[in-house]
Amino acid sequence: MDFLQFSVSSNWFKLSMPVEDISTNGHLIDGLWNYTTLLGIFYFILVCIGLFGFSYLYSHKRSKTPYYTYGNKKKHLFITAFIGAAVFLSVDLNITRLSNNDMLAVFWKWPDPKTEKVIRVEVMAQQWMWSFRYAGADDLFGTADDIVTNNDLRVPMNTKILFHLTSKDVIHSFFVPSVRLKVDTIPGRITRVWWDANKAGQYDIACAEMCGTHHYLMKASLTVYTEEDFNKWLNASQTIAMTTNNPEDKNLAWGWKWEY
């Protein structure tokens, strides 16, 4: 019976693992999560040893005479200060440093379309859908040959994808669990995110910020193609865009000039 329960609970821990990481850099976030969790478990075990151990050892039954101390002897103050410093140095400074390094070296290191191969995508969120815009043949955004899709993002693998995002109405949040990234889309602002996926397949894009009644339905699909498949799709879409994009269509006119 005990064994059965154990298998149920370990299965649950497996269930609560995030979806598979398909990006080159998502492991940084997973790694830091694991590291923080291990340290947290370590300190929580210490707290529990104190809490349950002392409750057992020093219950009224076992310990008749309490130790009369204010805990302000030099020794006591030293131990308290040591615990405070140990937690700060071993946990906080460490994870702050690691996170800061990751942010500077990767997540805030924006790929530069001028010097490397980058697929650029403009994203516009609105209640309750995601629209994606590719520059098209002329490599300029906001022109008649742009490829625009709704709730359907397709990207190649092993290529950096750089997104510029905004929102038309309320704040949304562009959440792609498979690459561990999330960024708010804010009316009047442009936010950025980039990733590099390395596994073809179909994944979820969700809105993570409460955006109204149908917030829960604001989902899009992410398709990661091999480079070859992506080019095939892109060319086909380009042809469709050229023939069907209507310059008078106001719903298509949301693109903006790509800056910085």
Binding site: L15, F54, V183
Partner: protein, 578 residues
């Protein structure tokens, strides 16, 4: 230190002046207590509706479902769902925890524990309750509007909370209610700060105050500074809604000029992060005292606990940006807020060490207030440590707006504060009402709360890490989230169980009020000032203002020879043969 205004007020004679428009801090405390318990029940019911919807989407809520949602055959519809989680958050934070921990304990404990006859400003105190009452009416009334109450989350981020996302008067009334509540809280806070500074009994230095008073006092300071900021924020939001201004509007809808929705987030969180500590500081104080009282030994490092709480209070004003990492502030701001957030663990670790030091080598009595206090140490440990993942920028990017956040802040703000509140209630009930609560029922209530509570909130941490985001009506429209159904079910069943065990508490409360054993003056054998006077105290508390001669935690002194193991604060500290 009694420099203030501390004379005996005449006792009220009519029902009206005694129980309704009362200036007596003890009556106001009870008013806040009933008010808080009422809203705790209402907010709790909303939580059950939310949990039911998340686990059994499309199934009618049992028993009262048909009554509440007749048009959808008892199923919670998506718009009502948004309204429910908005109101659940608002009610629990402002209308349940604040009145219980700050309104009830603040009012009851501060004058009694510092040896004063009433608050410094009794009339302001009365107004504080009635403003809260008015605010509660506005909020509950907004539930009855044709388009429903506010539904943009308790954070009410624009532009969703402006006319673009929330037509109808619900959101406007929410702003009005929060503003009125802010007025009430500010009046209370000014009163508490002044009372603690001016009305301490002669001989009582700041470090002779019980740590409960430290917690309440620091809370009041934060309240007085930061609640007005929220007041300003909701006024600006109201102006955007009704007067056509555009402080927080931008994008396609800002046709008459552009503001910035992120500005509201700054205003909100510069209040909102201190608010977290506003809620938890009284519970920390209560726990610090009770651990010492029921271990029968002085609080370990009481002075450093008080100073650590002060440090947290100061730091809490400097870290609010960690709520906004995903808005992509400048990297410099992001780095600064991350680093400052991390420094909070130094004082937190210090008072954790002190709590454990207090029960170390004690002689622990496991009465119900003690059980709840030990429970706080456990759940706040979990809550605090999961905060590390969220204060770190890169992990927060994944975890932000998932159930991990929900689990984390429920551990810190809901679980810890609720358990701390129950600890205080079981502890001071004899003083408040002159009767003891039933200990067996209290222990059943403790275990019936503690175990499901961890099922709920640990389950939330797990589904959050699994990637389920917040505030979604039906998580299972995402195929990848369907694997979390078993854990979600566990959370909901735990919530129902925990809700059911709260009935034990209500029964115990009502029964003890009328039929409980008569309480002696000092049922717990502790030495703080409120236990030197009868239970319940007379109208003016102290016939003679006490003179304080020792600290609040004088327990277990081996030199005591009078058959007691504790000393009252009014007694000269017994010294050993040197």
């Amino acid at each position: 230190m009694s420099g203030g205004y501390n004379e005996i007020h005449p006792e009220p004679t009519t029902f009206w002046s005694k129980y309704i428009i009362s200036f007596d801090h003890k009556v106001i405390a009870k008013q806040f207590m009933w008010y808080g318990i009422f809203f705790l029940g209402l907010g709790g019911m909303m939580a059950l509706l939310i949990r039911w919807t998340l686990t059994y989407p499309g199934q009618p809520f049992p028993i009262i479902g048909n009554l509440l949602f007749p048009h959808s055959a008892g199923v919670v519809p998506p718009d009502s769902y948004a309204m429910l989680f908005t109101m659940h958050g608002t009610i629990m934070i402002f209308y349940a925890i604040t009145p219980l921990l700050i309104g009830a304990f603040g009012n009851y404990c501060i004058p009694l524990m510092i040896g004063a006859r009433d608050m410094a400003f009794p009339m302001l105190n009365m107004l504080s309750f009635w403003f809260a009452f008015l605010s509660g009416i506005v909020l509950v009334a907004s539930l009855l509007l044709p388009l429903g109450a506010a539904a943009g989350g308790w954070t009410s981020y624009p532009t969703l909370s402006t006319m673009i996302g929330s037509p109808g008067a619900g959101q406007t009334l929410w702003c009005v209610a929060i503003f009125l509540f802010g007025v009430s809280s500010t009046m209370g806070a000014v009163n508490y700060v002044t009372t603690v500074i001016t009305l301490r009994a002669p001989g009582m230095g700041y470090f002779d105050m019980p740590l409960t008073i430290w917690g309440l006092w620091l809370t009041a300071i934060l309240n007085a500074i930061f609640v007005p900021v929220l007041g300003a924020g909701v006024i600006l939001l109201t102006m955007d809604r009704v007067m056509g201004t555009t402080f927080f509007l931008a994008g396609a809808s800002a046709t008459s000029g552009s503001g910035d929705p992120v500005l509201f987030q700054h205003v909100f969180w510069i209040f909102g992060h201190p608010e977290v500590y506003i809620l938890i500081l009284p519970a920390w104080g209560i726990v610090s005292d009770l651990l010492s009282f029921f271990s029968r030994k002085p609080a370990f490092g009481a002075k450093s606990t008080a100073l650590a709480m002060t440090a947290v209070t100061i730091l809490s004003t400097l870290v609010y940006g960690h709520h906004m990492f995903t808005t992509q502030m400048s990297p410099l701001l992001t780095q600064s807020f991350m680093t400052l957030t991390m420094t909070i663990s130094i004082p937190s670790a210090i008072f954790f060490a002190n709590w454990l030091g207090t029960i170390w080598k004690g002689s622990i009595r496991f009465d119900s207030p003690m059980l709840f206090s030990l429970g706080v140490v456990f759940v706040f440990g979990l809550g605090g440590l999961t905060g590390l993942h969220l204060g770190t920028v890169s992990t927060d990017i994944y975890l932000h707006d998932t159930y991990f956040v929900v689990g984390h802040f429920h551990y810190t703000m809901a679980a810890s504060v609720l358990l701390g509140g129950y600890a205080g209630l079981y502890f001071w009930f004899p003083k408040m009402f002159g009767r003891m609560m039933n200990e067996t029922l209290a222990k059943i209530h403790f275990w019936g709360t503690m175990i499901p509570l961890n099922g709920i909130f640990f389950g939330m941490l797990m589904i959050g890490y699994g990637g389920m985001h917040r505030r979604i009506y039906n998580p299972f429209v995402y195929e990848s989230l369907q694997r979390l159904i078993p854990i979600n079910t566990l959370v909901t069943q735990s919530a129902i169980l925990m809700g059911a065990f709260q009935i034990v508490f209500v029964i115990n409360l009502i029964w003890s009020l009328y039929k409980g054993k008569k309480a002696p003056n000092n049922p717990w054998n502790v030495g703080t000032l409120e236990w030197t006077i009868p239970s319940p105290p007379v109208h003016h508390n102290y016939d003679v203002i006490p003179v304080v001669k020792c600290g609040p935690h004088e327990l277990g002194n081996p030199n005591l020879k009078n058959g007691r193991d504790f000393q009252y604060q009014t007694e000269e500290l017994v010294q050993g043969p040197a």
